[in-house]
Each structure stands twice: as C-alpha cells, then as structure tokens.
Symmetry: C2
Subunit: 337 residues, 2 copies
C-alpha cells in the first residue's frame, strides 16, 4: 500500500530515475526539479523501500551485532548494554540500522552462516566470542566486513579491545606498591580472551616484582557476582591480603564474601577490580578499578566497520583502546608499613 518511486514520479511529473536521483542526493538534477520532487516526497512522507534498495544496490545500510549467549548470561552486567549504546549512537548518525542477534549455542553456527550469506547486513560486529571459536574462520573467509570486540591472537583478524594484559598488570602493580604481600587473583573464564589476558597481566606483575606465583592464590571465576563470591570463599583459607579481581561484577561478589567473613576492606583484604561499572564508585568502600568504556568501544568498532564497508578496503587491523586506573579508597595507605 505504501507509495513507490513510480508514484512519486507520476505525482511530480518526472521519471522514476529522477526521483531516485533526488532521494540519493545526486548532483545532476536541476534545482527546480529537485524542489518540486522534494515537495511531493515530503507531503506524502514517502520512504523508499529498503529491501528493494538492498536488492538493487547490494548494500543494505544494516550492520549485524552478534553476542554469543554463552556470555549473555552476564547480561546483568552493564557492559553489553553500554556497548550497544555506543554502537547505536554511531549507527544513528551514519544512517545505519543494527540487527541484533543474541546467539544461543544450539543455533550459533547456523545463525552465523545465515548472517554472513543472506544479504541482510553489510557488515558484522561480534562481541566476546570464545577464543579459537571456529566461527571466526567462517567470518574471515566470508569476505564480509567484520570486527571482533575482544583481542584475537591471530594477526590476520580485525578486532578492537583494551590492553587487558597491561591494564591488569598496572592494577596488580598498584597493590604491590601499596605493600601487599599475598596478592591473589580472581580470574574470568579462561577461554575468554579478556579472562585469559587479565590473568596474564596479573602474573606479569608478580614476576616483574619478583613475587613467587602461588597457585593457591588463584581462583577462577566466571565473570558473575556469584562466581566472584564463591571464588573469594575458596581464597579465604589461604589468607590473601589483597585481590585483583578480573571484573567489577565479580569484585562485588568478593566483597560480599569478605563482609560475611567479617573481614574489613581494605584493612584486612584490599580489592582492585576491572571495568569501573557505574556502581563501583558507590560500593563500600568505593572500588579501585580499571576503567574501560564499553560505549566508546562500541562506537569505535562500528566506525571502523562502516568505514570498511563504505571504502571497500579490507585491511586487517587490531585496535587497542586506552584504560585508566581509577584509584578510590579501597586500598588506602592504612595497610602500608
């Protein structure tokens, strides 16, 4: 029932092609003609059919955003919403739409392969995919513009990430400098690159400080509050005096465990987190943590993607964004000698 180019053409007494030119803001149209057509378009509130445009032009102005459900569990974490906001903001200004897929494991392979081949999107952004997931190969092979959120070991892959290793090293070094001796860590899932890298950063800090690395001071969490809580419980019997926790959400859990054990923060155990979630300035005590900005990561990633789409150039690139150590009161000088 909606109007078509043909209708607008008839109503303004020109040909379909001219209307098309007007809509696509091409140069070679007489000003007078353009205005006449624009008037009709506006008065009827005409919208070109994007499916048809996609078919004819091969471009849809849609990007796909894929978030594996394996991490969607963490959806209580504002990380993904913020990422989406960044993605969406850029898409709005550049007249793109975003197709969102929260992929569940059982559909995942089929879903990806559909996305890559069904002509619905011009490019795809994939967040937090597990390391060495074969899906990455399919994407790279597909020749579709793409970018991963989360570092990938291979040099031949487009990705955007923060420097998790250096940031975590910095966080841990902060504890070292404050004089803590038994510095533990609660890690993220190890098949997730961010979990892996943050653990490596912790190890690096110990090594650089000539601290022995004690396996009993390492507890694997799963990026959830509950996981952080349980990991802290396990650590307690080894009496750490400080803990680098690989995410703020887990840090909240760890702090809960400490409170239940009647241990003071930071006098008995100091905590440093990772993320700087909005709530982290409001915990008791406020959390010292590494700030990354998911919404900016989303923006930057999409900008890269859209540029790749529109330029047609497909150079491979790894983009690293900055982080910041935000020191709050959690580790005061109180525990220093």
């Amino acid at each position: 029932m909606p109007l078509t180019l043909e209708d607008i053409a008839r109503l303004s007494g020109v040909s379909r092609s001219t209307v098309s030119r007007v809509i696509n803001e091409e140069e070679n149209v007489k000003d007078q003609t353009r205005q006449k057509v624009m008037q009709v378009i506006n008065s009827y509130n005409f919208q070109p059919n994007l499916a048809a445009r996609g078919l004819a032009s091969g471009r849809t102005n849609v990007i796909g955003v894929v978030i594996p459900a394996s991490v969607t569990v963490i959806f209580t974490d504002p990380y993904f919403p913020q990422l989406l906001q960044g993605v969406s903001a850029v898409c709005n200004t550049r007249e793109y739409s975003v197709m969102l897929w929260l992929s569940e494991p059982e559909y995942e392979r089929r879903m990806i392969s559909r996305i890559l081949h069904n002509g619905l999107v011009d490019g795809v952004l994939v967040a937090s995919i597990p390391m060495n997931d074969p899906i990455i190969e399919s994407i790279v092979e597909s020749k579709m513009p793409y970018i991963l959120i989360g570092r990938h070991p291979s040099a031949a892959v487009n990705y955007l990430d923060v420097d998790n290793v250096q940031s975590s090293r910095k966080a841990t070094m902060h504890l070292v400098r404050l004089g803590y001796k038994r510095i533990a860590t609660i890690t993220g899932i190890q098949n997730q690159i961010s979990g892996y890298d943050r653990y490596q950063g912790y190890l690096k800090a110990l090594q650089d400080s000539n601290f022995p690395s004690r396996p009993e001071l390492v507890a694997e969490g799963d990026f959830t509050e509950e996981g952080g809580y349980k990991a802290m419980m396990r650590l307690l019997k080894y009496k750490p005096d400080a803990v680098f926790v690989a995410s703020d959400t887990m840090a909240y859990g760890a702090m809960r465990a400490l409170r239940e054990a009647n241990l003071r923060i930071p006098e008995d155990v100091a905590i440093v987190g990772f993320d700087d979630l909005p709530n982290s300035s409001k915990t008791i005590p406020p959390l010292t943590t590494i700030r990354q900005m998911p919404s900016m990561m989303g923006s930057r990633a999409v900008e890269f993607l859209i540029n790749a789409i529109e330029s047609g150039v497909k150079s491979t690139q790894g983009i690293i964004m900055d982080t910041e150590l935000v020191v709050r009161e959690s580790c005061g000088a109180s525990t220093m000698e």
Copy 2:
C-alpha cells in the same frame, strides 16, 4: 558472488520454482526431487537472499525493537537487557531477526516513521515510551503490527505490562501491615506510565488504610540510583519510618543515603522496592520487592507480535502479566509493636 535460486536450479536440474518450493517446505514436491535439491543446497551451503525474499513476498521475518533513549540512560538497569533476551529467545526459535533501534530524541520521529514505512520490518515492539507520546498515534495509524511494553490508557492500543497499580498497592500494604505509620514513596518519572501507576498504587494503599496522604512524604525520582539517593536525602527531614521505592535501582540509592545518615534498615527506615533485580537478594539487608520478569515480558510480547504478523488479525489487546511480592529481611517484625 553468492549463489542464487537459479544457480541451485541449474545444478540440480530443476526449475527455479521447484527450488523455491523446497526451500519453503511446500508440500507438492516429489520426495526424490526434494532430496536431490536439498543435497545441492547443503553441499553449497546455500542461503536465500532475504532482501529479495522480502521484496517478493512482502514479509521480511524481521521485527523492530525500539527503545527510546530517554530511558536508555537507565541502561545500567538490567531491565532492558533482560527484555532483549526474552525477545531474542523467541525470535531465534521462530526464525525471526530483531532490528534494534535505540532512538535518540532528535532522531526519534524520523526514525519511527522510517521504521514504519521502509519495509524493513514486519512488526514493531516499542518499550517504555512516554505517556501520550504522539508517536503512538503514528504507529497505530500505520497499520503495522505492533505492541507496546508499558500500559497505555487508551483501550485501542496493544500493550503488555504488569499491573503496576495493584503491585505497588500490595507492596505498600505490606508496610502498612507491618505497622509502619509514616510511609513515604520515591516515585519514578511521572510521564512514564510505570512511574505514574506505581505512584497511584501507593496512594491507593494509603487511602484503603485510611492513612492521610502527606505530600512531603512523596519524592520524585528518575529511576536511577542517583535519583533514588537524592530523593531519599530530601525525604529524610520528614522522618519516614518506611519507604516504597518505585524501582530497585532507586532503592539501592535510597539505601545508600540511609547508610550515610547512619540510619538502620529496617529498624529506623524500612524499604520496599520494585523489580527484583538479580542484585536485590544480595543487598544489605536483602531487599523486599515486587518481582516482575522482564525476559518473560519480552517473550510474551514478541509472541503476540509474531502471531499478529502471521495471522494477519489485528485485534487490539492489553496483556497483563503477574508479579509477585518477594519478602526478604528488609522489613522484619522488629519494628512492629
């Protein structure tokens, strides 16, 4: 470069229409033919072009999800992520995709009108739109299948919501029954139906209990933690002994304000929230609250939408989902006489 129906047809020695029939699982195809074609399809991992299908059939199997940015600020609240998960889960099983628009005010009108007319989606789900937003009219008039998340006063509108009035009344009555006398409220934004209705429920409870309604015990929040904190600050000087807070996120802020004022929860001031966020069982003390399930709301809404799309029937409907009062320790018997 991807294959087309025509290619598959040639490769399997049949006509394009037959391939189309096989793909669309139509009955009238000889088993033998079907298998032959399927084999070719699978071996080439053929995916039909959805833009072309959309053009030809008038159906895209895509639904639009619109979340106004006016509320996107609240994106630290797991409400929307959970809603999206519910939406996405149903879409996955029913082979739909979701187009996500986080609409910023300046683009909002244009965006909606584009969505409604550009043939990209078969239906649209709109979350948390402000009351009396004229956009609602455009949607209803557009003849496109739609559903709003959040009650709408007009009977002629499709929506899905929980019964905010009754739930809030229930929550407030809980405080009444526990013997509190100066029951305050921190409301949500009043041009948001959930903010308005929850306030009405509070008023109703007071009225039904023959309590006077004291304007000084009403503080408007904005559904954020910070808003709850500030609202509580304003309430303090009027010495409420209990507060019904219109969202858990605001309740966290209110609790923070109480702690800073050295007031005990619930001995000095009791708190009841609304939402039952994952963290609400882990606050200190655990929060008594109204449980609604955003992911189920998302699922139900999309089911309604897809049914409307596929059946073509457009009966107007208001769907109300249940809530549950989850009583935790926040309001113990300690304050009762």
